[in-house]
Symmetry: C2
Subunit: 278 residues, 2 copies
């Protein structure tokens, strides 16, 4: 046992495939426990008895080193591989084993027991929808093109560096939504009227705004001491663009305290835009 009052805990995320499901729920769960120094280890593609034995050894070693039982979050489909892993010295939770029997009972059907169902390739239409949405977001990033908004699901608008590009890309990657984005620049801000290129698409617009101080910090790290990064400049741009959103009846969110996931999912709730991917 280490000297510190709270022992370090190694947390393993183990899967026969990508590990994304085990990580997503596992991280959500441990985020509810504060003050414990968690060490994360993701081990994907544990898809053979040999790899299961290696993994078990690694877990047992972590127990020795930490002096505290590692947490193990797993999504393992194959019962043989799972039974090997369950013998480890960790606090082992398998998300599939926990829920599959109850679902089999409720659905009156045996589960397929097949690995890689969810983050696999699956339907090639789904794959194409996703790639096309990513290409769309790239082609219509930062106002690069404005002819082609007819096929946009949403056009994000806001001042430079408020988070439009990552939000567009996330909408494309995660949900297959075609998201263009258009920067409201200084020349657009002489009035609170919409820029000409956007006027026919008012119903597709969604605004992003940001706290001027945060914008000032982001721009300053990009272009230190520029006019563009001045706090007064940021305040003025944000104030005008928010007035534009109000006047033109454009729904908007602030990126200041929201992650990209939160921005994207809130935007979908507010605008009613449906995902194209599942």
């Amino acid at each position: 046992m280490k000297d510190s009052s709270v022992a370090q805990r190694t947390v393993f995320f183990i899967s026969d495939r990508t590990g994304i499901t085990a990580e997503t729920l596992g991280l959500s769960l441990i985020s509810q426990f504060e003050g414990i120094p968690f060490i994360h280890v993701t081990l994907p593609f544990v898809d053979s008895a040999e790899k299961a034995r290696e993994t078990t050894q690694r877990i047992n070693q972590a127990y020795q080193q930490d002096g505290a039982q590692p947490l193990v979050f797993a999504t393992i489909v194959d019962p043989e591989i799972r039974s090997l892993l369950e013998k480890c010295d960790g606090f082992y939770i398998d998300f599939f084993k926990t829920f599959i029997p109850g679902l089999e009972n409720e659905l009156k059907m045996a589960s397929a027991n097949v690995m890689g169902r969810i983050h696999g390739v699956g339907d090639s239409n789904v794959y194409n929808t996703r790639i096309e949405a990513v290409n769309y977001a790239l082609n219509y990033d930062d106002g690069a093109r404005t002819n082609g908004y007819d096929t946009a699901d949403v056009i994000l608008v806001g001042v430079s560096r408020c988070g439009k590009t990552p939000t567009s890309l996330y909408l494309a990657m995660q949900f297959g939504i075609r998201a263009a984005n258009y920067p409201i620049t200084e020349e657009d801000l002489h009035s609170t009227q919409l820029p000409k290129a956007l006027r026919p698409y008012q119903h597709k617009l969604f605004g992003l705004t940001i706290d001027p101080k945060r914008l000032h910090a982001i721009r300053s790290s990009r272009r230190p001491n520029s006019q563009y990064a001045q706090l007064a400049q940021c305040e003025n741009e944000v104030k005008t663009v928010e007035a534009m959103f109000h006047q033109e009846n454009i729904p908007y969110l602030s990126s200041t305290n929201l992650s990209i996931e939160e921005l994207a999912t809130k935007l979908m709730v507010i605008s009613g835009i449906e995902r194209r991917l599942r």
Copy 2:
């Protein structure tokens, strides 16, 4: 009850935040049950008693319409909101409620019971790492720049349309990895030597390849009947680029049967590149 032999089932993914965790595990679980027509409904930001009651009504209506009990996968932190939802007529599973008590016991600590821990903004360093990685992937997409590879974690190489761009963006968004990508074009394929711009970075290169028939289909939908899309052209490019990978000792994967998630996570395992985000 509908006439069809297997009743439609509505599946709800419910959360007080983005719903991403509930969706990720819920989709993994139902992917193991084949032949049931599942209808997906994601309801994020169910964060008040009123929204919980509305949600419960919606679940009960789905029961009426389907004639089969809806599945409800939830991640709800607040006990009051959860107790309202639990009264619904669905087959209700709360992923937090299932595991938090066991973890509290193991960790000898009460959980924080705070919403939005995982897909929230959290540490602004994490946020900045992610945004910088996305910007890096965009700036170094498709060989757009080659001066700046010093700060790349990985440089993806492969023929045009083999999946480099979405993989780079996914690595950035999900893991904060700085991934450049460089297309091996016809003029690079007169020999199996590495293009000049890549030679100093051999240790950072990771290859992507693809089945020539699939490449032919992808290119054909983009530029029908072009020389670029011809099957013979695709076969030749793929053959030469794979010879280059072998000769230059570049690890590689085929994107033909792997999703973007699988490509990204396998690449990390093979190359040993560590995530910068958590």
